[in-house]
Amino acid sequence: MKRKAWKLIAGCLVTVMIFASLAGCANKEPAQTSGDANTDAVTPEGKDAVVETVKGGEDASGGTTDVEPTGIQAGTSFRFWTNYDLPVYLPWIDNRGTALCLQVYDNLLVKYKGNSDDIRCNIAESYTISEDGLVYDFILKKDVYFTNGNQVTSKDFIATWDAVTKYQPRGVANVKSYEAKGDYELVVTLNAPSASFLYELPTQSVYGVVDHTLIEKYGMEDNRAAVGCGPYYIESYVSGEKFVLKANPNYHNPERAPHIETCEVVIIPDVNTAMLALENGEIDCMNTVNIEVYNTLVDMGWDIHIVEDRVNPFWLNVRQVDLFKDIRVREALAHMIDWQAVTDLVYDGMYPVAGSYWGDGVGSYPYSDKYTYDPQLGIKMLQDAGYKLEDIKFTILADPDFTDMEVAIVSQLNELGLVNVDTVTYDGATCYGMLKSGTYEVFPCHNGYGLESPLTPFTMGMLENGTQPVMFLKEANPEAFEKAMELYNSANTAATWDSYVDYVSQLTNLVQEEVLALGGVKVMRFFAVGSKYKGVYISPISGYMEFNHLWVDEG
């Protein structure tokens, strides 16, 4: 009996030792970083991690004295992390592949170094717009070749846009017709004047041109047709593993000529594994919006480039919750959330509080004072409207990325006496399904906001047949809805970009005045890039990194 007891103790000791040794190998705790996004964060090793905010078109590498090489740097490589696969990588098939497609399939125009305000000709040598703003006439360069050696002609654009019309009709929703006039002229006619057309053209990967002979030969769903004329071409693809991109030595545009010889887009579904791969030098870059991952990356001593992403306003579903029909309730709730405390608590203060649904710094931003934190005013407004605090009952839907923020908000509201406010977390796909079917009560989402198409959230969220209903203005205030639709139609047919943005801004203001959402914080996207890589250009909001500008500091 005594012997058995000793054996048992010995067994337990061995177990504890194994457990302790494995636990000892775990990650160190993340370093505490400064709350200011524009200040340096210090790692435990004493190494400063460069933390900076990157605006569109700025060189995020911080190297202003370095000289960009003129050609391809032989033997250089860059391994970029992504967490999803693209089994078919033709530009019109899967719209998640934009970052990759922008490197492989070139467009008529290009946003130079990711800057939305610097749109230049690319395959198009020049273009003209008719006086009524309906007809765009693009003259193509004659020295552009696909990576298989075939020349790029207007026929290729026709075949490509035919595929886009079939697979991504939204991408050409306002295009009435497109026709080739000879080999080097493409005439596009719109249904209505659209100021955003030129801004969307270089950003949407679906417009990237593909060799028409291959589309005819292999069809629109076969990867063998995936031949473009971009700075890189796809040398190989291993399903679920990686894309290997090689620099195109005959690339036509010297402004966008690639420097890194080989770029690999490596697929790792798990973010923790990606971090370990980064630490082990098996990938050179990863990006995230997760503050915990950011802290860990800073802890590991990585240079972090910070790019502004979108705001996710907390939309109130007026159709699902009767209380939300009363603007006094909506206004009161908007005053009862301390967004600064939320960002301080959950995001170390790195996600700035948004004064608008779209965040400051964008054209369609209008500030609103409807969202200033004044909880006593909020409580008074509810009581004046005849509501008891416990009458306010709703559930905030959370996807796992935002659970912490929602728990913080619910705690605040519960502490103020709104004890029947709750949150529930479902996986991303379920949340998306509920968003599309409009069966949520409160949900945070940006609804497709982009710098090139700030009207999109209204298209998706406000129109009768919008696929992501979030702006229930018709139910909340029918008169305001009439006015909103006038502004929407005006924006949709605005002749100039400035007037377009102005209409969107007015529209946003109208929706904000009606308090259809509870405000939010501006999400930041963090890029960890190896310090030897220079020329890091990342588009704000969309977050696309352009591999072609990257180069290796071999010194």
């Binding site: 067994g11 494995l22 775990a26 929703a173 399903s239 679920g240 593993e241 990686k242 082990n280």
Partner: protein
């Protein structure tokens, strides 16, 4: 015997059809409208109808199912709602990866688990048995994804022996296989131990010993061979479940297997992908069951005797009928 095997093989397509129908109906019961899922933000009824027609979703459910079956038999599992590309190539590419992962793990499980479990049973309550038991319980209680990340930390980051992810030669298989193996092995060797203990206590083992047979012969020939019967069933079941059940391993080690693919399909409400993966996994499960049944017949003389007996009885009946038996 051959008739028995043929009969079992003929049941396979029927079973698959039932599984496909069940999954198809289940997926169609969900609220999500697949056509709406693929539509742009703004669309007209004409565009909606065109999309529905393109994917054959405008037809009655039974017709949709019938079309799917006809195409699936020819190896065409349809077009993915998410990627809008063909499902077949992507799903079929992943089968060998999941198959190899499951096969290597199962073989290691047998090679390590059977002798270790048998030894534990033979040396019941010894130090070896106790330590093995504690370790097995410990291994069985570790979450797979945590173990995987810890193994990466130690063997990839600290020691640099293996890559952290992906498929870069044989080294890439070591950590995923061990992460996958350990929890299964823990359970497996306890099952072997238990089966062996049952056999060791049987009268025929005692009889063998009393007849003076060598202990190693008694253990190997009389106890272990009989103990293997339930273990074969267990092994087959584990192997089949491993093919589709390595989701966490595939995710952590970025192994493009079928388990993670089906999870992606579910997350994206991508019915053709889910159906294709389910059918392939069902085929493996049913196939594994078939192999188990055949193995049973090979290992267990009683089952062979049953078939042989039936044949003899039939022959006797035939002889009787012709009057030649008198």
């Amino acid at each position: 015997m051959l008739k028995y095997i043929l009969k079992r093989i003929l049941i396979v397509p029927v079973l698959l059809l039932f599984v496909a129908f069940f999954v198809f109906i289940l997926l169609n019961l969900s609220e999500a409208d697949p056509v709406l899922q693929m539509m742009p933000a703004e669309y007209t009824q004409v565009e909606y109808d065109a999309m529905a027609a393109r994917f054959g979703l405008d037809k009655p459910l039974l017709v949709q199912f019938g079309n799917w079956v006809v195409n699936a038999v020819q190896g065409d599992f349809g077009i993915s709602y998410k990627t809008k590309g063909p499902v077949s190539g992507d799903v079929l590419y992943r089968i060998p990866i999941s198959w190899n992962l499951a096969l290597i793990t199962t073989l290691l499980m047998i090679v390590i688990g059977v002798p270790l479990g048998a030894l534990c049973a033979v040396k019941q309550y010894s130090t070896f048995d106790n330590i093995t038991n504690v370790l097995a319980k410990f291994m069985g209680s570790i979450p797979g994804f945590w173990l995987g990340l810890m193994l990466i930390q130690v063997f990839s980051i600290k020691l640099g022996w293996f890559p952290t992810f992906g498929m870069k030669g044989w080294r890439s298989w070591v950590l995923p296989v061990f992460t996958f193996l350990l929890p299964y092995l823990a359970n497996y060797l306890r099952q072997v131990r238990s089966a062996m203990l049952d056999c060791i206590r049987q009268d025929y083992v005692r009889t063998a010993r009393s007849k003076g047979a060598k202990e190693s012969v008694v253990i190997y020939r009389d106890a272990l061979r009989n103990a293997l019967l339930p273990i074969i069933t267990l092994t087959g079941g584990i192997f089949a479940s491993m093919i589709g059940g390595a989701v966490m391993i595939e995710k952590v080690f970025a192994f493009p297997g079928i388990g993670y693919k089906i999870l992606e399909g579910i997350n994206n409400r991508d019915m053709p992908t889910i159906l294709a993966c389910t059918m392939i996994l069902s085929l493996f499960t049913i196939g594994a069951q078939l192999v188990i049944d055949i193995s049973y017949a090979l290992v267990d003389p009683r089952i062979r005797a049953t078939f042989a007996g039936k044949k003899k009885v039939k022959k006797l009946d035939a002889v009787k009928a012709t009057g030649g038996g008198e």
